[in-house]
Point group: C2
Chain length 537, copies 2
């Protein structure tokens, strides 16, 4: 059997598209090279890893932004049989300590500007034998890390050429990503070569992200977050040009890069896109090269869809999670929708779309029965398929719980419309059951955020002796509205939007609604502080 | 491990696109149904197969055209774990007898109008236990086959519903296709579920056939020829509409179907396309729905490319073979070629293009060294990858020869240009070595066929004491030119096209140039009759 290995992905552009370009925003100067150059450096990096004593199955950590060195690690590490562990820069120190120790990372590659993050926790991490700092400047910046080496010096001194093994087991681990769960400790999701290979093919299909050799792909989703949604692997395989926006890119930088590099495709969360369109409008960047945007993380708001449509940028909404490598669904506007009204099109794009080819799925209610496809009945989304994880790393109990019966229990509560389009409604446990009816906390939050004075909103269910649960909203106002808006005004604004029984029982104003390290609403903390019990299903 | 099974391909449109249509040109009346209907019938067919005693691994033969019943067999047979063996209707009787006995087919499904083919050989076939006739008329036509059953009666009486196993080994055989080799006996190529699954994903990529749910795909390549190039599986998976043109479709029927069904995509060999464009021009069919044509089998001529470009039909040239499921390469005109002249674009489209993602390949000379990528040096194309066969069925010696070192030795002689595009030059053995230089028999044939009087041309090498080999051309003239054209005129017409040493040594006129059962030039027979030895390399 010819194995499905990441080596196939790496070697194709090196042979067929050796002159096509990769742009990387480095810390002191822009950097540009080709797939031919990249392959040479990946070979040297493979020799470096061997020299550091990295063996098959060893975990190699990165704490790095979206840049060409991170791309090199994406390939060299799995292609020698080791396991890439990209650490999320935004995790709290305690979480970083936990996952580095839990994964038993052997060495770590660190971007220069985040060295202090590791310095701050180095005494609590047990398994790291070597620190490697990545910078385009000469030498290594002053650091308390030890032993420390320079990425560029290692590569410069490494042997050229490397023969990547073609006899690795396709089911061997290539990468480990930890979830940034809102509850409990992070869990490690292990992806095999096979998982990544198959996912990379499917996401490029015309009905999904429609990626081709002619694209110039900019990586906005962080490479430390579920492998930048898997886009770097697909883009490399096809030989697309790639743009890496480097450390802490702001909206202006992203717009400049689209303009200068003629980017055609990018993934992004709505918040980032909104910031970009804001700057684009003010400063008139020419982003007309952009053809398609895949949106994830949350549903896009109408004004965003309107702005993108006005620029003839095709929106692909989608849904995924760490456990699924990550993509599960894609929603595109088809040609049959050309006659639809704007409202119909936008309402459609708020859905997460169709489950992509290769995955088996169902949506079940609390009794395990499949829900009706009516766009109304809510159930949990269960999925299985060739790029869904088979276990959480060293967590047999959590594995048994989440993967019972061979199905990944996503804890995402969704509806399915008559045509099979999935719509995310809430997380299991965040749904509120009031008088026997479900209330979506996400829906309520979106509606409260529609109020111009509101900056953030989180809704949780609190116990109620008669109704079972009632929703309570936690709201932070924009600075200019602080103290100028009452609970009643907020609740009044909902009256023509939701049924009376869905209107929150109370509104609590806060300076900031608590969030987890990666910016998700921390409903667990809100519940603890409110003494409320999460809704059970 | 979640297995890669054809079941995944079957079940997706049944769930997500149950109302999308499949058109089939049946023998007495057009037939139209949906993916929902199709799935129900595939389930019934699975019950029928079980009832006939078909077990995992059993071979189920078909002798059928491109129609909905054949599609049902494409799915029901492998999805219950049996092996589909689509027989090539155009094979000589002796070859059919050989491959049915060699594959040990257990039952056979026969389209009504080719029943006589099997009647003619029934006494020489040993393993078939049951004949099933497929027709849309009531009952079974008078036949000497026995025992014989009616497909539609079996389905009507079968139990509804079937739970296809999800625990088949993905490496278990799903289909067997015999090569129609120009030399020797047909060889059986076995495809696993995994082979077909991966091939179906890759051919749909934007850089390959760019297939999507929005397509209406018409199946012109016969379903008995390498599974219609694998297109029915890809089209079904994506939920595209499909059009099956039935028994012996002529060019007019194909044009009518494009017009009526608004076909967007089809594969075809140049000869068929030329016939279609001829009728289209004369009878003014509206085929403007057609967006893309994938061409295989032979290179398209300039006038064909010109006509297709004039109609804004995108041409995708490609190359494949039975042993590779079948696709190996795809050649598309990219956006960077928009500024090219027409001559540049057409010359480019004569190449077979880039090897598609997932395959590893090299082109080697007689010494096993990789050739230069200069578009000139000729070598044999070797390939390996996850949808290349691993053996010829029950042929260990032929397997060892063709697959030595893990590489499929295709016997196709190609050049590779500076950018990695493959161009087919000849078959190994058909190349002529004259005075130490290679002459492509295909090139000479194409040039001789450029002569308006010429209907067919075949060029072989014959031994020559001084030059080693010299080319000799076998030519048949169009009826109106018979006896009106001399050898010298043919040779003269080549003088400004090829170097002097490439001009054939002789021209032999024939009424018909001999061809194999599937219409390929029979150079083996020409060599035997001329006493010439094939060129050796």
């Amino acid at each position: 059997m010819y194995p499905l290995l990441i080596k196939s992905i790496l070697e194709r552009p090196a042979r067929l598209f050796p002159k096509k370009q990769i742009y990387s925003r480095d810390s002191s100067a822009p950097f540009r090279y080709t797939y031919g150059d990249m392959y040479q450096r990946v070979c040297r990096l493979a020799n470096v890893l061997e020299g550091l004593g990295i063996k098959e199955g060893d975990k190699v950590a990165t704490l790095a932004w979206n840049n060409h060195r991170h791309l090199e690690l994406y390939f060299a590490v799995p292609c020698i049989g080791a396991v890439l562990h990209a650490l999320n820069i935004r995790l709290f120190a305690d979480q970083l300590v936990y996952i580095i120790n839990h994964a038993e990372d052997k060495v770590i590659f660190i971007d220069e500007d985040v060295v202090p993050v590791i310095e701050g926790i180095k005494d609590r991490i047990k398994t790291l034998k070597q620190f490697i700092v990545m910078t385009d400047k000469d030498g290594i910046p002053e650091t308390t890390l030890s032993p420390v080496l320079s990425y560029e010096e290692l590569l410069a001194n490494a042997a050229a050429g490397y023969s990547f093994p073609d006899n690795l087991d396709e089911n061997s681990p290539a990468s480990i990503c930890y979830t940034t769960a809102t509850t409990g400790l992070p869990k490690g999701c292990v992806f095999s070569h096979r998982n990544i290979y198959l996912h990379s093919l499917v996401v490029a299909l015309p009905d999904v992200w429609n990626m081709s050799e002619e694209d110039t792909v900019m990586h906005i989703p962080p490479m430390f977050h579920v492998m930048a949604w898997g886009i770097p692997y697909a883009a490399t395989w096809l030989g697309a040009q790639q743009v890496f926006p480097g450390s802490r890119p702001d909206a202006r930088t992203l717009c400049e890069l689209i303009q200068n590099e003629k980017v055609t495709f990018a993934g992004a969360v709505p918040t980032v896109l909104e910031g970009m369109l804001d700057i684009q409008e003010k400063e008139q960047f020419d982003i007309s090269s952009l053809k398609r945007i895949d949106i994830g993380g949350q549903a896009p708001a109408f004004p965003l869809l309107e702005a993108l449509e006005g620029m003839e940028i095709r929106v692909i909404n989608g849904y995924g999670m760490t456990e699924s490598c990550p993509l599960l669904t894609a929603n595109v506007l088809g040609s049959r929708m050309e006659s639809w009204t704007r409202e119909q099109r936008y309402a459609h794009l708020l859905k997460q779309g169709l489950v992509i080819p290769g995955l088996d799925w169902k949506v079940v209610n609390a009794e395990g029965q499949e829900v009706k496809w009516d766009g109304k009945e809510i159930g949990q989304f269960l999925v299985r398929g060739p790029w869904i994880i088979e276990e959480y790393y060293k967590e047999p109990e959590k594995t048994a719980d989440s993967l019972r019966g061979g199905w990944l229990h996503t804890r995402d509560m969704v509806t399915v419309d008559e045509e099979g389009h999935i719509k995310l409604m809430d997380r299991l446990g965040d749904l509120i059951k009031s008088g026997g009816e479900w209330i979506s906390s996400i829906d309520l939050e979106d509606m409260i955020k529609g109020c111009p004075a509101v900056r953030e909103a989180a809704v949780i269910g609190v116990s109620h002796s008669y109704w079972g649960e009632r929703p309570v909203a936690f709201v932070s106002l924009k600075p200019e509205f602080k103290g100028k808006m009452t609970k009643e005004e907020i609740l009044d604004s909902l009256k023509d939007k939701v049924a009376k029984w869905q209107i929150p029982y109370d509104v609590v104003f806060m300076d900031d609604v608590p969030k987890t390290s990666v910016g998700k609403l921390d409903k667990k903390l809100l519940r603890e502080n409110s003494g409320a019990e999460p809704g059970k299903q």
